[in-house]
Amino acid sequence: MLLQVRNLRCGYGSLEVVHGVSLHVAAGEIVGLLGANGAGKSSLLKAMVGLLPAWAGSICLEGRQTRGQPAWRCISNSLVLVPEGKMIFADMTVRENLLMGGYHNPDRNLQLELVLQRYPRLAERLHQLGGTLSGGEQQMLALARALMARPKILLLDEPSMGLAPRLVEEMFAEILKMKDLGVTVLLVEQNAMATLRIADRAYVMETGEITLEGQAADLLHNPEVKRAYLGAAGREGWEG
């Protein structure tokens, strides 16, 4: 198991939003984490990388406890978050953005070459300011910047958000290619169908709890997935 999370609780102020979540990701997997707005998915990711204090539980990367470590240490540990909304540095060039991603990596210039080979469109715009890129290119830059840290596991938070439908397809194809690079992916998405088409397994989260785990192909047929995606409460059991 590359990443193992057990009974993780976190929240804001006195409000707990993640109520004891357990999940795991094996090396080489793409694992989806689905759920409606406000289910606690992004908070869970933030707690995993130390951006939000975890109140309880454990987070182990390759068997080593990482809970309580600052975010910069998580990146050194090859656990890298690509946050929601791209969050690129708009006033920096593409090159500077990428080098920031490999800040702790002594071989960052070599890594930069590898990343640019992979994303030739970014190579063409190397000296352009990040903020002047199109939405799709900015998302590509965010992904490329994460690869600069040579991650073992990428946590992607809503990478398709705000992208045109054609670009969404490209983005998911790009995530699927991460497998070839040996990068494991935990993918938080509201686009449930697209996620389940590329993922090996997935979890469904509702109001701070995991309610389903299974193979992605199976969850595609699960009506609860649709309900979680649409944000309905799903209290539809037989009440006879």
């Binding site: 198991m1 193992q4 057990r6 009974n7 109520h19 004891g20 979540v21 357990s22 999940l23 795991h24 094996a26 979890y203 509702e206 709890e209 995991i210 309610t211 389903l212 785990e213 299974g214 199976d218 047929h221 699960n222 009506p223 409460a233 799903g234 209290r235 539809e236 059991g237 037989w238 009440e239 006879g240």
Partner: protein
Amino acid sequence: MNIFDRRYETMPRPELEQLQLERLQALLARLRRKVRRYRESLADLRVESLDDLARLPFTTPETLADAFPYGLFAFPLREIIRLHSAVGPEGRPMVIGHTRNDLTQWSRLAARQLAAAGMTANDVIQIARGRAAAAAASGYLLGAELIEASVIAEDPLHLDYQLAMLQNYRPTVLITTPTHALDFARCLEQRRIDPQSLHLRSVLLSRNVNPQIREQVASGLFASVRCTFGLGEILDPGLCVECEAGQFHINEDQFLPEICDGELVITTLAREALPLLRYRTRLAASLRREKCICGRTGALVEPGQRLDRQFRFREITFYEAQIAHVLAQTPAAGHRFEVQLTETQLTIAIEISQDLFANTLTSAENPRRQIELELLARLGLEAEVRFVEPKR
């Protein structure tokens, strides 16, 4: 070793326990949200480790029968695409539902058993269920189709026709009940048909039997014999895999087993339609978690005796209450009776009184025959009815 689902069947224990904890937590969240009876009993109970399982409430066969027909379903009926029935405590009916994903999962679990028994896409499989095991037969069918074997979709009731199918279709695998397998063997012997002239190489029995019966079937049908072990309310086949070493491994990625007071207790971790929390199976069993040469990591279970008053005769399970219910429709209504069961004979001994024959001019033969026919028609039981003197 023929392992169908290597990832889950040979999952290292720490990884398996993580998966079980995740699935148990998700199960509790679903039960609280979707099944009213569990919502009340679970309240705010949560688990942080598998050891916490012991704090959770049991589900009993009585709970399931009380919830008849759909009270414990976690999905509305429109999501349920198959319904099976099972015999509950004292013969009360229980309904087992499956969603599409449940059936997909069932096919995989059945395929695990078939693969472990050495079956492949090259096999021709005949599923002969006899008078019983209709639900189980559908599970084997799902598994056989998944491994892409050729399945004979006919199951004639008469032994003659089944024998003709064995000779004409040349199946390499026979999946059947122990009773039916012995009937086949006896039939071959009586007709002086050499079992080697058939093409059978493997027989899969629908339940566990003792080594003597295995040997009888193996020599009578000239094939290797394997057994399955399942439970109708949980999954049958699919709860376990009998491995190459003859051990029953629980599919622990799907079912969390415990032994409570000597009784096997199962929590279904991935069932959608009818998830069961700590279901008391009313079956004595022992559980071992040790390495097996087959490489599977699921706990080893050794099934024992029933702990309730359930009888089985020629693969049909029944309770005394069901016999009483049938007798109530006959002249023997209200008379005391006793079930006498041996390997080959089921006798219902009914205590007679004068009123039993009050309207019968001839003899005791008519009511006796009438009761036997009722038992056959209503329960499928081929029983001999005997009238005995009342006990003092």
